[in-house]
């Protein structure tokens, strides 16, 4: 089993979700995160004082997949999340030792 993790732009969430659903992914977990990277943040001004905010809102996806599907899912995420502009984000793949569905106790691929 693998865990495919992706950091993407928030407004791409729907596209990415649909794209991986097409590949047969049935579930995933989403977290609001703040990203720091090449993409510049923004400046805020309050009563003339400027504040620079380095962090950019991003969304993190975690998708548990069968070993065989990991590369396919990662690629599909990249295609669907790409805008071509700085800040599109990252994808990485983590090896997993065991995965279970809480409701039934099923393990491995059955847990997905």
């Amino acid at each position: 089993m693998k865990l495919v993790v992706a950091i993407i732009k928030p407004f791409k969430l729907d596209d990415v979700k649909s794209a991986v659903q097409d590949l047969g992914v049935q579930g995933l977990t989403v977290t609001e995160v703040q990203g720091f990277g090449r993409q510049r943040g923004h400046t805020e001004v309050y009563r003339g004082a400027e504040y620079t905010i380095d962090f950019v809102p991003k969304v993190k996806l975690e998708i548990l997949v069968d070993d065989a599907d990991a590369t396919g899912v990662a690629e599909r995420i990249m295609e669907s999340a790409r805008t071509g502009k700085i800040g599109d984000g990252k994808v990485w793949v983590i090896p997993i030792e065991g995965a279970y569905r809480i409701r039934t106790g099923e393990a491995g691929a059955d847990a997905l």
């Binding site: 407004f11 923004h42 400046t43 805020e44 001004v45 309050y46 905010i53 962090f55």
Partner: protein, 413 residues
């Protein structure tokens, strides 16, 4: 006329109440937009308090109320020159003349502010500022003159508008349609969900609006008398009944009575009773409220059929509600309630008043739509940045791109 301290006090209080409605409206709308645009919405409304008030004192009051022309005012009151000492021709009240100016000023502030609901999330602040100032002069001033100034052609004709059904609500509502047509849809609309980011904020606004509306409608009696009392009662009952009407149809059609529905229904009732407030009596406000609650619920969904993006339903609530109220007044008006009014169809007055109401409604609709549409087209061409924020700004949110601020920071950064 001798100044009466009671009347003066009522108009002082009412002026304060109507002022309070604009912040109330800002919150009402502000809660409905997405969090990234909340400040832009609040700003457009607060800015109206700034720009319109000053413009009113400088020249717009005079354009709306000065002189005896049928069509437009003059410059007698410009720079407030005669305003402390004289009422507009044909107006006679037991209050200081300057107070009449102030009370009317608050109406001029909130009328264009109503439009902000339609243009939410995409109009540049700079474009709004230009629009606001010019619209006030070319649309608000003449329409207010026609209807509110005793020399105005609709006033003379006998059309009734107690507190602004045509001047405020129909006028702003149809202008909102014009602006949103020129402006175009929000990116993603109607596919992408754009739910209200804070309904509690919207309900704070609703409470303030309802409260302030007593100043708007009962204040329009311009005296602390029985007409003011009747107007207050009508205002409240219409809001209450319209809330019930909206919730009932909503429950029947959609299965849920919603909080936003309760707020929207109440506002629809307040809109519809505005022209009628000091002219009808008995259970008429309840009937008017129930009717308008149902009609406005049905009206807010028209935009999906016709494809114009009236983001927060200024058309569905203010335009439609204003028309319903102005026309129903032709049925329910009752001189027993207010001798200065006329009798409507149900009170044996025949169809005369109704006809005049239709004329007033049509005149406002046509004039305001045409001029507003033209103004928008013109500004779109003339302003360097055009009317709309860039796609990227719309994506990021106007709070950051237009105002370099964010609405909320609950977490330390």
């Amino acid at each position: 006329m001798q100044i009466d301290s009671g009347d003066t006090t009522w108009v002082l209080a009412s002026t304060a109440l109507v002022m309070f409605m604009t912040p109330g409206l800002a919150l009402f709308y502000g809660g409905m937009v997405r969090a990234k645009n909340v400040l832009a919405m609040l700003m457009q409304n607060f800015f109206s308090l700034g720009l319109v008030s000053v413009a009113w004192a400088v020249v717009v009051y005079s354009l709306a109320f000065g002189g005896s022309s049928k069509w437009i005012g003059n410059f007698d009151f410009a720079w407030l020159r005669d305003a402390p000492h004289a009422f507009p021709p044909g107006v006679a009240l037991a209050i200081p003349p300057l107070l009449f100016m102030a009370y009317q000023m608050m109406f001029a502030v909130i009328t264009p502010a109503l439009i902000t609901g339609a243009i939410a999330d995409r109009m540049r602040f700079g474009a709004w500022a230009w629009f606001l100032g010019i619209w006030l002069i070319v649309v608000y001033a003449p329409v207010a003159h026609w209807v509110f100034a005793p020399s105005g052609w609709l006033f003379r004709r006998g059309a009734l508008d107690f507190a602004g059904g045509t001047v405020v609500h129909i006028n702003a509502g149809i202008a909102a349609l014009a602006v949103s047509l020129v402006l175009g849809k929000r990116r993603g609309w109607p596919g992408t969900p754009m739910p209200p980011h804070s309904l509690p904020l919207t309900l704070i606004g609703t409470g303030i609006l309802w409260f302030g509306w007593f100043g708007f409608n009962a204040g329009s009696a311009l005296a602390g008398n029985a007409v003011a009392a009747q107007a207050l009662v009508n205002t409240h009952l219409a809001a209450a009944a319209a809330m019930l009407g909206w919730l009932a149809i909503e429950r029947i059609k959609g299965g849920h009575a919603t909080t936003l529905g309760a707020a929207s229904g109440a506002v629809a009732g307040l809109v519809a009773i505005t022209p009628c407030a000091g002219f009808v009596g008995g259970m008429a406000p309840v009937v008017i409220g129930l009717v308008v609650g149902v009609i406005c619920y049905l009206a807010v969904n028209i935009k999906f059929r016709f494809g114009y993006d009236d983001a927060l339903d200024v058309v569905g609530v203010h335009l439609v509600g204003g028309i319903v109220g102005s026309l129903l007044l032709g049925l329910f008006a009752d001189t027993a309630v207010n001798a200065a009014g006329r009798d409507g169809v149900f009170l044996g007055g025949g169809w005369g008043l109704f006809g005049d109401q239709v004329v007033a409604v049509l005149a406002t609709l046509i004039y305001s739509f045409v001029v507003t549409y033209g103004l928008c087209i013109g500004l779109k061409r003339v302003l360097p940045g055009g009317l709309r924020a860039t796609d990227e700004a719309e994506e990021t949110g106007l709070d950051l791109t237009e105002h370099a601020e964010v609405g909320y920071s609950f977490v330390d950064r």
